[in-house]
Subunit: 288 residues, 2 copies
């Protein structure tokens, strides 16, 4: 496994791989790898000749009130995990390498950003697409892998690739779940014992909402309200949002006549959990 | 010579060329080719295995008061010229192909745009970098060619490539001039006979300004004022601007201690002419 820190070196190696006809699978991360990342790496490993993992805690996607310095880091552990999971190249730049001087251009997300988690994190997705545009040009992947747990991120990356014709195929990977249905997350350890028992009801509530659509319910408000009611009745968490939007456009819908996402964010005492389900006009799960 | 209209086909062909180890030189244009373009094609031909010419009148870089429909077009003539000048591939998309739906992201130029010609064309360079990002991803060039006549455009493209790590080398090509020094431009035909005689004094004025620097003059205001005075005394044109800025950063400078541009725009009765000279701290011409 090669560990690369410089942009020029990364770009040169990617160019070499492309000329050799190797397909490149790319998993961009902020490190502190967990099982969600492993499922991305696994799929990248299956579908490509070479797997590039990037580890970079991107300051541009942190808001002024978000603690960049407190973001967990464990480089040695990450490298061990990468090696064990068949990564060929780890791209591990420092901030000065990725942002050597202030940017002259600004890339902003004008649609798909101001809903769901994006509403409370203004500028977050601008930072995400900026670093991804840079990483795409440095690592030049054929396929890039993201988890459907962050469905909004997948939608925004879809727009990035589509709007700017990046020669990259977006692969969204199903959310990894505990046996009881709770989406795996590094935040789950911050749940109390009781909260941990309640947390799986978020996914159950979303499935209940989806099933209403499957049974023919076409009133968005009813579906959202029933989903909220279920979460409220089964957990002590405070609902941040439950939203039903078109997917991946993330626009409000009057009725379910296309692919939609039903997504929730619930604040527990020391952990904010998010989850979602994506389904089509028949109510059948289509992603995630 | 191949003529390609679809984005997917262009992207597939570029990928094929890259895998074959062919270097790609790219000349993006809005068509209506003139001698300036030919010098770009010529250099691209010399330095690359394959030359791609794109012809696309990009609506995004026209302001609301600028007449997109009146922009001159002559596809058949352009294709003949392309063929005669050794172009391998012409990429000739229509608007619906390049912008099939409204963009979800917005790319803006925050530095380098609000000076020189950019000041009177708000949003113009946003449109330029957006279409270029798309074209870079579709044509995937090793080298891209722009004329130094539009020095601000070169500076903005430099920022695009630098900020987003596009794997493209920017080649700026010297302005093609008439024997008397007038920069060649399709707008020159709109000059009256007298104006045509006066127009070469723009470049002479810029060179005079540069020579002041060469002789040790370090007061920016003096250089700009002398340049303006010379243009005013020698032509009937109305000066739109004469500016001296760092290059390619296009920032104001206190003194000439790095590479700078001295640029002018002069409005004649039916033609607005621009020209520039780029020189280093010794006053020696370094570009253009």
């Amino acid at each position: 496994m090669e560990v690369i820190k410089e942009t020029a070196e990364m770009q040169a190696l990617a160019a070499e791989l492309i000329k050799e006809g190797k397909s490149i699978g790319f998993v961009p991360t902020m490190g502190y790898l967990h099982e969600g990342h492993l499922s991305l790496l696994q799929q990248a490993r299956q579908q490509n000749d070479k797997v590039i993992l990037s580890i970079f805690v991107n300051p541009l996607q942190f808001g002024p009130d978000e603690d960049l310095d407190a973001y967990p880091r464990d480089e040695q552990r990450d490298l061990t995990i990468a090696e064990e999971n068949g990564v060929d190249i780890v791209f591990l730049p420092v901030e000065e390498t990725m942002y050597p001087h202030p940017l002259s251009l600004k890339l902003s997300v004008v649609n798909r950003a101001d809903v769901l988690c994006g509403r409370s994190r203004p500028g977050h997705f601008d930072g995400v697409v900026t670093i991804l545009a840079k990483l795409f040009n440095l690592c030049r992947p054929d396929r890039v892998y993201f988890g459907m747990k962050d469905a909004q991120q997948v939608a925004v990356v879809d727009a990035l690739i589509e709007d700017f014709n990046f020669p990259v195929e977006l692969k969204s990977v199903s959310t990894v779940r505990e046996k009881d249905g709770l989406a795996k997350s590094s935040r789950n350890v911050n749940l109390s014992a009781l909260e941990r028992e309640e947390a799986p009801f978020i996914q159950q509530a979303l499935q209940k909402g989806r099933m209403l659509a499957e049974e023919g319910e076409n009133d968005i408000d009813v579906i959202v309200k029933e989903t909220m009611k279920f979460i409220e009745s089964k957990t002590h968490g405070k609902i941040d949002y439950v939203e039903l939007l078109s997917y991946p456009e993330l626009e409000p819908v009057d009725k379910i006549d296309r692919q939609v996402i039903l997504a929730a964010a619930v604040q527990f005492q020391h952990a904010r959990l998010i989850d979602n389900v994506v389904f089509d006009e028949t109510g059948a799960i289509s992603k995630g």
